[in-house]
Amino acid sequence: MSLLCAENPDVIDLLDGAGISLLWHPALSLETGAEVVDLLTRLESGALALDILCVEGSILTGPAGTGRFQMLSGTGRPMLDWVRALAARARHVVAVGTCATYGGVTSTGENPAEAIGLQYDGAHPGGLLGADFRAGGGLPVVNVAGCPTHPDWVTETLLLLAAGRLAAADLDGLGRPRFYADHLVHHACSKNEFYEYKASAHALSEMGCMMENLGCVGTQAVGDCNIRTWNGEGSCTRAGYPCINCTAPEFEEPGHAFTQTPKFAGIPLGLPTDMPKAWFMALASLSKAATPRRLAENATSDRIRVPPTLRGPKP
């Protein structure tokens, strides 16, 4: 449903304009019941060409590997069976969302339904289709990870595939399109100045950086969330709650409460990506000592209390 939030143009025009026609979509298409089973059967037999197979949701393998926790209604066959059969026919396979890519939230805790992703089980290659799977077009499963996915990540992936402009080198080490996975959520985060001076929020609703206390891993999470923003001008950090790394495998099990930074001897665990630990510690203590009053006060307020100092007229 996040896909329907695509804008400029809307999702219908976006796909139309790129020459992409939907064979079937569970929320949009007219066809239902027997009409769909007939379509799927023709795709499975190869009578009808399948350019792109998009799968949302984890693959449920339970109970005991049977896949009967998710039967494709009206067909008497488990969804995993259908996905395997259709993936073998598809020119490209796209996993949409962190459940379909890596198992995601559905595999939280005891993973009651034995959920896995299309080509990963958590961070481990494999999943339903196996590490060596390549679709007809030569690519592994394209992992549009995110919980939710940004609508643009989905539409732009489809636009690039349709244009023949997405190659294996355009995917990162976890199969994610690099056009969004080469960025960190930290990039363009509106709290960056607080981060620079380690001016931290102590509780949700405060304006400071959420890395030190509130579980934010925006400096480690891939995604251009703060560059392109969501639903107009939004992002998790802009709304005052932490990035939980939802584009990554196993984000659903951080090993601590999502909104609390794990610490050892009072020092937060987890470093910004590519940052040497000793340097981070040194810079952090230095910048913390240099925190301007404006940032220190605003960091623990729920709104800007102290505005930036204005310069006087030029002499």
Binding site: C5, P26, G109, E233, G234
Partner: protein, 474 residues
């Protein structure tokens, strides 16, 4: 007698299979199967209670804020605290925007495209229906998708993104809106009103909100009214006329939409202690229990007579229908009250349209009442041992979360989603759930039986409930 298994049933949210027994050109009995089990309630066990705010919204990509609000209220209840008054208003605003977006999606993308089917060729309205509501490509779905995306900018601004916001907390909301934010939200709301008043209703919302007869002759809603009358949708898919609403958008001085149980032509207090979930026809191990004592243990053998992963919620031992119609009946909207006994396909769709108009008015009043200088969130410390319930109204009806915290961890988490109420299977007495009952008697054409096509009347009835199967089977 002919048996027909219908699926995949699309333009509903999630996975649904319906088994029909057909005799004499009518559905004699219907069995609703939710063929997906994920086990969200079990995933919660042993987690930090705060994690419910992150995990439960991810049950669903369409009712996400409803789940978020229910989790926040359950935690607040466990702590015997309430959000700050202004925080409660922003939470209500976020939630009401999602509910409005869902109603819009249902009408334009899920429900109306069925009237473009060839089965209706020759009807006086068929060409107009095809022009407006062709699935995915018609003018009405396009306009609705654009209006919806713009409306959800409000959630982007206050909640960071839609779906799966973490902005709603037990003590309020994480972002204090500025005066400028409120002005921007006002602009988004005015744009949405313009869409509603030029396209969906093509008339003043105040007139729609005050309707007391199912008559409207303008816009897409006018086309719907014409179709409903021509197709006799007032006689199709009739329900029990017993409706439940938990009450929506709780503020410091009460909910903006009333809580109540409607039966025998009057509203009554909701006997919350008499909510149970019956497991007799679910692939679940255990016995009938109140959700505070409930368990979710799947039966891997999937043994008969069970036929669904969905449990069967009952109120005082009987099924009850939930949704926009139920809410509006309980709240006393005149048209909803007039259609309460009818409880048909027509009544359910009108319930949603009426509510869409009323929600816009509610949003405008709510926005005007927000005081940006106030506090929007208090930090709420959760007790190490406590129980709590969070009862809200999702677009599709009553949603409840029941949490049991022991030693600072979640010992039990039970959820009853709106579609669990509406699409539950039979109970121990053999009484069918609301959609199963509503399907009995639906006409089935001879060519539908011959080709195995999904009977169009069955499609109208099922979609009139706007089921969200992913929430149902959490």
């Amino acid at each position: 007698m002919t048996r027909l298994i219908v699926g995949p049933f699309n333009r509903v949210e999630g996975d649904l299979e319906i088994r029909l027994e057909i005799e004499g050109g009518q559905v004699r009995a219907a069995y609703a199967n939710s063929p997906l089990y994920r086990g969200f309630e079990r995933m919660m066990t042993g987690k930090d209670p705060r994690d419910a705010l992150t995990i439960t919204p991810r049950i669903c990509g369409i009712c996400s804020i409803s789940q978020s609000a229910a989790a926040a209220f359950a935690l607040a209840d466990a702590a015997r605290r309430a959000p700050t008054p202004e925080g409660a208003k922003v939470a209500a605003l976020l939630h009401a925007v999602e509910n409005a977006a869902d109603h819009l999606t249902h009408f334009n993308l899920f429900f109306m495209p069925d009237f473009t089917r060839p089965a209706y060729a020759g009807r006086s309205w068929h060409t107009r229906a095809r022009d407006r509501f062709a699935a995915a490509t018609g003018a009405a779905p396009r306009a609705a998708v654009q209006a919806r995306a713009s409306l959800l900018h409000i959630v982007g601004l206050l909640g960071g993104k839609w779906p799966h916001t973490l902005a709603i907390q037990p003590g309020g909301v994480t972002r204090a809106p500025t005066v400028r934010d409120l002005a921007r939200i006002g602009a988004s709301l005015r744009a949405f009103r313009r869409y509603l008043e030029t396209t969906l209703f093509a008339g003043p919302l105040e007139e729609v909100a005050a309707l007391n007869r199912p008559e409207w002759d303008r816009g897409d809603a006018g086309l719907w009214a014409e179709i409903a009358a021509d197709c006799g949708l007032d006689r199709l898919g009739r329900g029990s006329g017993r409706y439940l609403s938990f009450g929506a958008y709780p503020l410091a001085d009460g909910p903006l939409i009333a809580r109540g149980l409607w039966q025998d032509g009057a509203t009554h207090p909701v006997p919350l202690a008499e909510i149970t979930e019956d497991l007799s026809h679910s692939w679940m191990i255990g016995h009938t229990a109140h959700p505070a004592q409930g368990m979710t243990v799947p039966d891997p053998q999937m043994q008969a007579p069970a036929y669904s992963w969905c449990k069967s919620p009952r109120l005082s031992g009987r099924p009850v229908e939930v949704g926009a119609l139920a809410r509006q009946v309980v709240d006393g909207q005149p048209l909803a009250r007039a259609l309460a006994d009818e409880g048909s396909v027509r009544a359910r769709v009108w319930g949603r349209l009426i509510e869409l108009a009323r929600t816009q008015l509610l949003l405008e009043r709510l926005l005007a009442s927000i005081r940006p200088e106030a506090r929007f969130m208090d930090t709420v410390a959760l007790p190490r041992n406590a129980t709590g319930a969070g009862l809200v109204e999702a677009a599709r009806g009553a949603l409840g979360h029941w949490i049991d915290i022991r030693d600072g961890r979640i010992a039990s988490y039970q959820i009853i989603a709106p579609t669990t109420w509406n699409f539950g299977p039979r109970d121990a007495t053999g009484t069918p759930g609301p959609v199963e009952a509503a399907l009995a008697g639906a006409p089935v054409e001879a060519d539908e039986i011959a080709t195995g096509a999904t009977p169009v009347a069955v499609q109208h009835i099922v979609r009139s409930f706007d089921p969200c199967m992913v929430c149902t089977v959490h």
